[in-house]
């Protein structure tokens, strides 16, 4: 039964992937680009070299963190669209410490070892605060988490722009100075890769996976997601669980924001999140809130921005295309998966009905 289900899901996914690819190919053809050559260039750009593969892994980490957090909130039936702002707040909070770290910390002794943990914890706090605020607006103010989240997303961007245009600005562009290496996530000597970041992300994902599978917390979230009212009657503390699910998601999103400033960018600049929070939402929708699939799907989704960037910077004009097309592909794929799943469910229901009525 489970095997048949997995096969069905894979079938839907392949079909949807085909539809999305055809759409992208048509757009490319209409712009006089060569889709097949672009596809080859894309695959080469994400799998061809060790450094390309490292880029994909590192791009997947913040998405994985966001998706892990969103697994908690989606399980409880919450639409934490505010995850994007929680990433931004994480990046801002990590920067509070990172921008003050000097180039030379050789005299700091044991304190130097505390820089990174402090940055990461503060980032988690920033994300958690923003998520907690969304939860409070929902629980105490009756504001749906979608609207609270959207408003707080825009407000977090305003705060970010205010900081990099004002007190934190260094130089002609609205951004901070590059952070000192002691403030950054340690890097692999040859590749653009941070083993520590990979370990943190995998541990965080593992913790969420276990929490959903084998703890009372996970069970309570599932009960709330199915039917919050019944869960409350059966003694689940609905409000408290909603608050904690949001805070946990915010903390993980904040960590993702810290990865953005402490590895990917190495400084704070506008659009620091780059939509990874929304990509987290798309990933969780793609896998239908099934935790086990999140890891491979996050890696798959991460190939899109990495490969799109390679196409955008290509010198060959027949495949050179703006990276924004990658976002179109992701959206089209998720929509096609949703619709495909819906069609499959309707067909199954119709078959069942026909069997029942003879």
């Amino acid at each position: 039964m489970n095997l048949a289900k997995a096969r069905g899901a894979l079938l839907t996914f392949s079909g949807a992937l085909g539809v999305a690819l055809v759409l992208i190919a048509l757009i490319m053809l209409s712009l006089d680009k060569a889709p097949l050559a672009a596809g080859r260039r894309f695959l080469d750009g994400v799998f061809g070299t060790p450094s390309a593969r490292a880029d994909v892994v590192m791009a997947a980490l913040p998405m994985l963190l966001c998706a892990a957090g969103l697994l908690l909130t989606f399980t409880a039936g919450l639409w934490n669209i505010g995850v994007e702002g929680q990433v931004t707040m994480g990046a801002i909070f990590a920067t509070i410490i990172a921008r003050t770290i000097p180039r030379d910390v050789s005299e700091w002794g044991i304190l130097a070892a505390l820089i990174l943990p402090a940055e990461l914890l503060l980032a988690m706090l920033g994300g958690a605060l923003w998520a907690g605020l969304t939860a409070l607006l929902k629980l105490r103010g009756g504001i749906n988490e979608i609207f609270g989240g959207v408003a707080l997303n825009f407000i977090s961007v305003n705060i970010l722009l205010s900081l990099v245009n004002g007190p934190w600005r260094v130089g002609t562009f609205p951004q901070t100075a590059p952070f000192a290496s002691a403030a950054l996530l340690p890097r692999h000597p040859e590749l653009r890769l941070s083993p520590l970041a990979i370990a943190i992300a995998l541990i965080a994902f593992g913790a969420v996976f276990m929490a959903l599978r084998g703890t009372r917390f996970g069970l309570a979230l599932r009960a709330i997601g199915r039917n919050a009212k019944s869960a409350g009657i059966l003694g689940v503390r609905v409000e408290r669980h909603i608050l904690w699910a949001m805070i946990a998601c915010g903390a993980l999103a904040g960590l993702a924001g810290a990865f953005q400033v402490l590895f990917t960018r190495g400084r704070l600049l506008p659009n620091i999140s780059g939509g990874i929070g929304f990509m987290g939402v798309l990933i969780v929708l793609l896998v239908g809130v099934r935790a086990a699939w999140v890891l491979p799907v996050a890696l798959f989704v991460a190939t899109v921005p990495v490969g799109s960037l390679k196409l955008a910077t290509s010198l060959d004009s027949s495949v050179q295309i703006d990276a924004a097309l990658g976002n179109v592909f992701q959206g089209a794929l998720v929509l096609a998966v949703l619709i495909g799943g819906g069609i499959r469910a309707r067909l199954a229901a119709r078959r069942k009905e026909r069997a029942e009525h003879g």
Binding site: G141, G142, N158, G166, F278, L282, A332, V334, L338
Partner: protein, 326 residues
């Protein structure tokens, strides 16, 4: 009246027009029980379509129709996924809003600030000379008039016609409406499409009227404001329009003091409309309205209730299982 004030009010009415059109469209859609959460992306994509067709043909009408068409198609996708496939309106709407916005940003690259659409300014003779009122309401461009018409027509349709009563019944008690012989899902298709068309017209109002050019920024985000205003407006066209003008007024205040403050403060001021959005939602949906009423004299209760009470259509966001049709 002060000339500056009149000019500011006229500007608020003009800048608010696209959001009024979108929010009134969404009001009709939600009155039937469907949430078109794709509104924001829909607004951006229809704005681009209207601009491309409008500048290509040189015709405002062709451009506006292109915008309406795009908004209508997106809304129909939401309705189809909800009614036929029983998918979550929130999931489909959210993915669509991202997809449409990204599609518009990509397809719009060659049109970025390319040109300005010729003005659709259209003062109404005689009426424009009425003191104050004329300068604010009748010395405007085409889309501003359309926004007035949309508000009044939507109100009249909802509360003064039998068709409007049917629509409200479908959004409140679909089973009861069905028993009375109403084809619930057909009504929902109709008003989702109509509402989407108005959203598309709102998009056209940006690129052919307010801006009037294609730009990456300045449109996205307003759809979310419109969605929130529908709630603040209690699903009533007049209150919805009032909500839009409140936000537009705040924006115009921010714009007017922009030049006198440093850039970091400007960025913080830009957050004010979002704070206002949270505040208004808090007022109408939180438990605090009742507490507020308790301390105010009873004489003030009815007008405050009319102004601030918001109760969503009971069947909003649900699927209706029509008998004999699976």
């Amino acid at each position: 009246m002060d000339e500056l004030l009149v000019r500011t009010l006229a500007d608020i009415v003009k800048v608010g027009a696209p959001i009024v059109l979108a929010a009134v469209g969404e009001t009709l859609t939600e009155r039937g029980g469907v949430v078109n959460l794709a509104l924001d992306g829909s607004l951006v994509l229809s704005a681009l379509a209207a601009f491309v067709v409008g500048t290509g043909t040189g015709s405002v009408i062709a451009g506006a129709l292109a915008g309406v068409g795009v908004g209508l198609i997106i809304a129909l996708i939401v309705a189809f996924c909800s009614i036929e496939l029983r998918l979550s309106q929130v999931a489909v709407g959210f993915v669509l809003t991202l997809l449409c916005r990204d599609l518009a940003l990509f397809l719009g690259i060659p049109y970025r600030n390319a040109q300005v659409f010729p003005t659709t300014f259209l003062p109404i003779p005689v009426l424009k000379d009425v003191p104050v009122i004329g300068a604010i309401f009748f010395n405007q461009d085409l889309f501003t008039y359309l926004s007035f018409i949309a508000v009044i027509a939507a109100w009249w349709w909802l509360f003064r016609t039998k068709a409007g009563l049917t629509l409200r019944a479908v959004g409140e008690r679909p089973q009861a409406a069905f028993v009375r012989g109403v084809n619930v899902n057909a009504v929902r298709y109709l008003y989702t499409a109509l509402g989407g068309g108005l959203v598309g017209l709102g998009g056209a109002a940006y690129t052919l009227g307010v801006l009037p050019t294609w730009s990456d920024t300045g449109i996205a985000g307003n759809g979310w404001i419109a969605l929130a205003i529908v709630i603040f407006g209690g699903w009533h066209p007049f209150r919805v329009a009032l909500g839009v003008y409140l936000v537009a007024g705040l924006r115009s205040v921010v714009t007017s003091i922009q030049a006198q403050v440093p850039p970091q403060v400007v960025e913080l001021l830009n957050a004010l409309p979002w704070l206002l959005m949270l505040l208004t939602l808090f007022l109408v949906s939180g438990p605090y309205l009742d507490r507020l009423l308790r301390v105010l004299p009873p004489r003030l209760h009815p007008p405050i209730r009319t102004l601030l009470r918001a109760r969503p259509p009971s069947a909003l966001g649900t699927v209706f299982e029509q008998e004999g049709r699976r």
